[in-house]
Amino acid sequence: MNWFDESALTLAVFTPVVGMAIVLLIPKANEQAIKVVALLTSLVTLGVGIGILTRFDYDHSARLGKFEVDNSWIDVIHSRYHMGIDGIALPLLILSMLITVVCIIYSWNHFPEPHNPKGFLALILLLEVGMNGTFCAQDLILFFIFFELVLLPMFFMIGVWGGPNREYASIKFFLFTLFGSALMLLSFLALFFTVDVPRNLTADHFNHTFDMVLLARAGGAGLVSSTQNLIFAGLFLGFAIKVPMFPFHTWLPDAHTEAPTVGSVLLAAILLKLGTYGFIRIALPILPHAARDWAPWIGLLAVIGIIYGALGCLAQRDMKRLIAFSSVAHMGFVMLGIATLTTFGVNAAVFGMVAHGLITGMLFFIAGSVQERFETRQLDRLGGLLTQAPKLGWILGFCAMASLGLPGLAGFWGEFPAILSAYNPAAGISDITFRVYMVVAAIGTVLAAGYLLWMLQRVAFGTPKAEWEGAHIHDMHVSEWIAWAPLLALIVVLGVFPNLLFGMSDGAVTHVVGGMSKVLGG
Amino acid sequence: MVVQNIAFWILALAMAGAAIGVVRSQNVVHAALYLVVVLAGASAQYILLAAEFVAWVQVLIYIGAVVILFLFGIMLTRAPMRGDTDLDNDQRWPAAVVSLFLLGVIVALVVDAFGADEVKVNNSLLRVGKSATVGSSIFRNFVVPFEVVSMLLLASLVGAVVIARRD
């Protein structure tokens, strides 16, 4: 199995490229072949992921361990092909693999208009490359490349297969994220030039490096706090826009509303996580002091996001837009957890990411299926879904419950520990501030219950509206069952056995936070 | 010394006047002839500076070739010969301002840079101006440019032909 360990991550990231190439070579007419190839590719990738899952060393989840790859790449700029996976990235990697498979299955026999499976699937696979890569990259430049690689496919997915207002939405999404990542790149460079690492550690014996691990180990050594805060600002913008945090969220509802179902699922399930992951993987460990100075503000934006998102939801008349706003709120919890800079909070954040990925992904799937059946997402035109498509309706109810953080389902473990962790944040951060945040966040959970149940009632309960009387509504297609079963199962399983995830992430998180507190002397 | 100075000033005034003529005369042919004066004056100045070879080349190429070209150009484009039509465009004044401004700046800088430097004409200088010296310098240090220029001339010749020929 040695060969596997060495090539695992490379396979995990680049198998989809091969698949994409094949897909592009198959003539447009031969749809079946295209679909099959795409599906197989994603399954193989997932297989690799499961392989990694089985051979991962859970006792030392902080170590990059046996899967680490570190080859020369762009020596001239001291950037290397350094891939590795730890307990924080692993769940997200698997999630993105799984979601990709699920999306391909889901779109099996309902592709969005204009009908072009070839292009669509190729883009999904390309997207997967970017997502997987981002989670595996251990070199800032590599990270940046993958981080950006995600943009294009999503841009096209929204722009080509999106709703009526797709052009505006796609360009907005594109430029927003782009602006962020431009500043992010500047910050990366600034890190390279300002952080001193011991020569004997770097591969090319140079005292500057893009290597995340080494930079994290340096922990912003020899940076005055003003510089740190400045660099952190760049990183913050880059990631916060992706998350998205409160004032930078406006691209999200548009993007989600216009995107095709699969698009929004991928967007919600994985793309948003890139931002939060960036915080945990880069911003916090590399610039601990700045992180501590920024923490109260991040926390503030996070809780604003929680309330603000909830209020936004309550104002929606469009089901999908409502779910989109709920993402803002949920990512607020994740960011709150991160902002505490405690193992508790960060663990919660990691769990929250996965949970949100599964649950909101499902909700978007459902929204898509509802639209497919009723040609509308307007809440006031929907109703009585339970009578016309009971299974779909109950699944919607289930996901709504999961999303409002019902204990026993995955959502709870992202939400509750995050609130819990806000009770006493890391040393040197004002307790009072965060306890206020805690209460606000707790109120946020009630609001969440409010808008989700409200949506559920509007969509599922009551009797069908006049226009749908007698209309034959098909309940649950096979493809939907196959696609959704794993997600639903995971929502329950993770809810009942949270340690499946906590056990994975905990070691790594402890390592990250421990490193920080070592630097912060707290 | 004095002699050369006097000569310089006469030539200079002539050239300056002629230059103004070139850019102000309302008759194209006159403008061309003024240009001849300027060019001739320039070559005379070269002689004053003991650059015989350059001076003669100036006479040959400019007065011999370029001005003729211009005259051909004037004929071919039926440029207005009598001063009836306006040869200037609508931006005389801005042009004047800009050029005077430029003049001011440059003169100031030049004066500042080479305050009272004298150009001494003596044997050593005359030796520099010798065609032999120039030639050897060309063929010792500037062979490659020289060759390239030949290609360039060929190119411009061909180019001019292609562009100008009627087809």
Partner: protein, 489 residues
């Protein structure tokens, strides 16, 4: 005594010159319809000229002649290679364009190659005279080429504007050079460098002279405010020529800038840094902003190339600060190589599209995604690469640019870096505008369905450039290494 000739060092130029002559003569002997053969000869010659370049590269020793007026070092070799490849691609672009419309063919290639010769000479030129000659050799043939569509008033206009600007700026440049000669008492860059080192800018005339000299190159690289000719000329002249101008002759200008700045004025930074700073900032900003409102694709590319020129100027503008000397040299070279590939590619696609739509308007790209997906994809690739989108080569160009800025690390440098960052975001507006037309807009009824018939030469050009853009995008080390060697001199 006779000067020592190193024929190995001169071989590329010699082979090229020979080819030039052969092309010119061959043109007489070919019948009208087989005139296109001359292009074949030309390309063979270009490829042949590449051989000694490679051997020199392998040999790798720095050769210098005529008291250092002419040098063949890594830098020269690298750029010679670049110019030859660009020439080859340009030939590929031109073949069908020139042979389809009834243009003079032999003369066309003849002039093209002469201009290339000028560029190669420029790469090795190390004194003012050679630089001047090289610059003119680059320019004059292109003046003519710009007007190659003789019966098209626009082409004429393009020619005259380009010509006038060229002449004026070279006059200004010469005037500046004359002062530099006067002050330093030599035309050799090495001597000038010595003078700059000793006296710096204590005579105010020196910086001004430097500036006047730079104007000539600023014109070549179409840096604001010496850029006015570019959009009009690009639009008016034959598209392959526009491509050539926007890549090759621009590169020529940058090479000149590099040589004169690094080997000449480097030690008098006050003389050139502020100017280049201003030019860079102005070019990026104005270029981008104006490009936003363009309706003609070539014009848009013209402004974009102005902006790109601005980006390339950024490292130069900070070269003397901090530790940026090496890295900014690298940055310029690398940026040039990448820029050449992606811009040529973009133009190639424009030519291919125009073959069918007969239009350069951006509207005519609507729905290209459905009617010609392959072409549309490639166009998007090139545009996104120009925009600096990973993992396409463009990102690395921008990256090394920023890297140089950080290497310099002065306030001015960082400011320029921020301006560059903002601009690189603005740039996305107009690049994506085209992409949106291609993919997000429906094709007009008039559009012809199905892939346009792309002649092999053209598709080869597109393939070549696309390959470079993609490969360098994921493995920039190749170009990075070249840049590093070049910077080592």
């Amino acid at each position: 005594m006779n000067p020592r000739f190193d024929y190995h060092a001169l071989a590329p130029e010699i082979i090229l010159s020979a080819t030039i002559v052969v092309v010119l003569i061959a043109d007489f002997f070919f019948a009208e319809r087989s005139r296109w053969q001359t292009s074949r000869i030309a390309s063979i010659g270009v490829l042949a000229a590449l051989v000694p370049v490679i051997t020199l590269a392998v040999d790798g020793t720095t050769r210098s002649m005529f008291d250092g007026a002419y040098a063949v070092d890594n830098y020269a070799i690298a750029l010679n290679g670049f110019f030859l490849v660009v020439a080859y691609v340009t030939l590929l672009l031109s073949v069908d364009y020139i042979s389809d419309g009834d243009y003079y063919q032999g003369e066309y290639y003849f002039l093209l190659l002469t201009s290339i010769l000028g560029m190669m000479f420029m790469a090795s030129a190390r004194d003012l005279v050679s630089i001047f000659v090289a610059l003119e050799t680059i320019s004059i043939p292109t003046f003519v080429l710009a007007g190659w569509r003789k019966h098209d008033a626009k082409s004429n206009e393009a020619a005259i504007k380009y010509y006038l600007f060229g002449v004026l700026s070279s006059a200004v440049m010469l005037y500046g050079m004359s002062f530099i000669f006067g002050l330093s008492g030599s035309t050799l860059l090495s001597d000038i460098g010595r003078y700059a080192f000793q006296h710096g800018t204590d005579t105010p005339l020196f910086p001004v002279a430097i500036f006047l000299t730079l104007v000539g190159f600023a014109f070549k690289v179409s840096a604001v405010p010496f850029h006015f000719w570019a959009p009009d000329t690009y639009e008016g002249s034959p598209t392959p020529v526009a491509a050539f101008l926007s890549v090759a002759s621009k590169a020529g200008g940058f090479v000149a800038l590099l040589s004169i700045v690094y080997f000449g004025f480097f030690n008098a930074p006050d003389g050139w840094q502020p100017i280049l700073w201003a030019l860079a900032a102005a070019s990026m900003t104005l270029g981008n902003l104006t490009a936003l409102r363009q309706t003609n694709i070539v014009r848009m590319l013209a402004y974009s190339s102005i902006a790109q020129g601005g980006f390339i100027l950024v490292p130069l503008a900070v070269a003397a600060d901090g530790t940026a000397q090496r890295s900014s040299f690298e940055a310029v070279v690398i940026y040039l190589l990448i820029y050449g590939a992606m811009n040529l590619g973009a133009f190639a696609v424009v030519i291919a599209v125009a073959r069918r739509t007969r239009s350069g308007e951006i509207e005519s790209y609507s729905g290209l995604g459905q009617t010609a997906p392959a072409l549309a994809t490639l166009m998007s690739v090139f545009l996104f690469s120009l925009a600096g989108m990973p993992p396409l080569a463009g990102w690395f160009a921008k990256f090394v640019m920023f890297r140089a800025v950080f290497d310099a690390g002065t306030a001015a440098a960082i400011t320029l870096g921020v301006i560059a960052a903002v601009n690189s975001v603005i740039a996305f507006f107009y690049y994506t505008a085209v992409v949106r037309r291609i993919w997000l807009h429906g094709a007009p009824e008039t559009a012809v369905a199905g892939e346009p018939t792309i002649p092999p030469a053209l598709s080869m050009a597109i393939g070549l450039t696309a390959a470079v853009v993609l490969v360098i995008g994921v493995y920039p080390q190749l170009f990075a290494r070249i840049g590093e060697l070049a910077a080592r001199g």
